[in-house]
């Protein structure tokens, strides 16, 4: 499979579960049988969200005051794994800190 990928490396702030996050405006999510495919139009990287649950969390991030709050609806034993998944999505700039966002936004 011959596909494009950027090799740029960018310094990204470490993931902070107490911080509010949102889906990057440069990222599109494509629903797939396994979950979703995330494509970053800026750095041209593909990421795979391998469980539907994670997709729901990512889509709902903007409506929560923090990443930790966003996973609070999950069964407890899965929250930690989900936060780890969010951390790797933050490292890939699929989700970005939402400094100005409001918890009331849709």
């Amino acid at each position: 499979m011959a596909c494009v990928a950027s090799t740029d490396t960018v310094m990204i702030a470490p993931f902070d579960a107490a911080q509010r996050y949102r889906l990057s405006p440069e990222v599109a999510l494509r629903p797939e049988p396994f979950g979703a495919l995330a494509y970053h139009f800026g750095n041209r990287r593909l990421c795979f969200l391998k469980v539907p649950e994670l997709v729901d969390v990512v889509r709902g991030l903007g409506g929560h005051s923090s990443a930790r709050d966003a996973v609070s609806g999950l069964p407890e034993k899965r929250r930690h794994a989900c936060l780890r998944a969010l951390a790797s999505l933050a490292a890939a700039e699929v989700i970005v800190p939402d400094v100005a966002g409001s918890a009331e936004q849709p």
Binding site: M1, A2, C3, V4, A5, S6, T7, D8, A28, R30, P31, E32, P33, F34, G35, L37, Y39, F41, R44, R45, L46, C47, F48, L49, K50, V51, E53, L54, V57, L74, K77, R78, A81, C82, R84, A85, S88, L89, A92, V94
Partner: protein, 406 residues
């Protein structure tokens, strides 16, 4: 696809998540890696051309038809296409199509021999966001390259690369098909990429198209395959491979970066210049034709409903390879490479690193390999392989697709 690995960890929210490659086997809602040949016309006659290109086909998709398919791809969220040919830039509407795709958020990575990448072309590309360029080069020296790609092709590619570097395009790709004669030049290719601020991409020689005629004499030797595996491991993700060397994973414990999966019809497909959809760019043959984008359901209909693709998305039996301990590492290798060398699809790859392919190839009872499906080769051209060929064009456009446009 080459970045799939660093994203794997992004899926650990459930307790038991199947491997990504396993999930991909059932197919995706839309391809990730769509190769789209915009024309058969080409100024060169490379001996290993996958699509046997040369002369334009009068039935090639029109500007409007290509734009319609681009609209469909945008709606399906196909985020980028790999455009090739032929030489895609010889289409008079090439730049318009490029702009149209990019404006619709369908990125374009196109392969070129460098023909149109003059200074102005390079500056234009540098100004266009969401475009990636792959310049083909099959030798780090003029001698090795031109023996495969034809006289003048080395200088043309180098000129294009320098123009891209000078225009500040950024990380374009130098795309190398590995042959017996250039494996020894891997370090030289990497140096060249460094010098030009480019990224090296190396892919496997397939016995597809005209490649079927030269594969036996050009494919890397068993010893060279081991060198390539070590070299790739040493260079990690800095060198792109289009995941084309997964059959080498049977050589060691460490898999090469990538998905380790034949993506044909699952994650990958090809649209050819006349709109036919094939399971993969290396499988241009009726046996792997899924439909045509001109049919009522369009491309989306072919991707979703083709019986061939449905078959490719069901689990394949390992066949003769099932009992081999390396099967989980190499997955039986490349479907197209087997098909065009006359080997059974559920048997070993012709370049099986354990030698099972060689053994199968030497069986006297082997069928005559199937011939490539379409041939648009320039009629007059001989295949020189290092020797100067005699050329007598029948019509001006037989020797150059540009002649017709004048």
């Amino acid at each position: 696809m080459t970045r799939a690995h660093d994203a794997l960890s992004a899926g650990q929210a459930g307790e038991r998540v199947p491997l990504l490659a396993e999930q991909f086997k059932g197919g995706l809602a839309a391809p990730i890696c769509l190769t789209w040949e915009w024309t058969y016309a080409c100024n060169l006659s490379c001996v290993h051309c996958l699509s046997s290109s040369g002369r334009r086909d009068p039935l090639e998709l029109s500007t409007a038809e290509i734009m319609t398919v681009l609209d469909e791809l945008a709606a399906m969220q196909v985020f980028y296409v790999n455009v090739g040919g032929g030489e895609p830039t010889v289409r008079p509407d090439f730049w318009d199509l490029l702009d149209y795709a990019v404006a619709n958020r369908v990125g374009v990575k196109f392969s070129t021999n460098g023909l149109r990448i003059n200074r102005e072309g390079a500056r234009r590309l540098a100004r266009t966001g969401y475009v990636d360029v792959q310049v083909s080069l099959d030798g780090a020296t003029r001698e090795v390259n031109d023996a495969v790609r034809g006289p003048g092709s080395f200088d043309m590619a180098l000129r294009a690369m320098r123009n891209l570097a000078e225009a500040g395009f950024g990380e374009f790709k130098i795309s190398v098909v590995l042959t017996r004669h250039n494996v020894a030049q891997l370090d030289d290719f990497a140096d060249l990429a460094d010098q030009l601020g480019a990224v090296l991409r190396i892919t496997r020689l397939r016995p597809s198209g005209r490649g079927a005629d030269v594969w036996e004499s050009l494919h890397p030797t068993a010893q060279q395959q081991r060198e390539v595996y070590s070299w790739l491991l040493g260079h990690g993700e800095r060198v792109l491979t289009g995941d084309s060397f997964f059959h080498l994973n049977a050589l060691g414990e460490t898999p090469l970066p990538g998905l380790n999966l034949c993506g044909a019809g699952r994650v990958v497909c090809l649209i050819d210049p006349v709109g036919d959809v094939y399971a993969c760019p290396f499988a241009i043959h009726e046996a792997f034709r899924a439909g045509n984008v001109r049919s009522p359901g369009g491309f989306a209909g072919v991707w979703r409903d083709s019986p061939l693709f449905a078959r490719l998305r069901t689990p394949a039996a390992g066949g003769a390879c099932a009992s081999c301990p390396a099967f989980s590492a190499c997955q039986g290798g490349c479907m197209a490479a087997k098909f065009f060398t006359g080997l059974p699809i559920d048997g070993p790859d012709p370049e099986c690193v354990r030698g099972h392919g060689e053994a199968a190839l030497s069986l006297a009872s082997r069928h005559e390999p199937p011939r490539p499906g379409k041939d648009h080769s320039h009629r007059d051209r001989t295949v020189p392989l290092g020797m100067p060929g005699l050329r007598v064009p029948a019509k001006p456009c037989d020797s150059s697709p540009l002649a017709a446009a004048r």
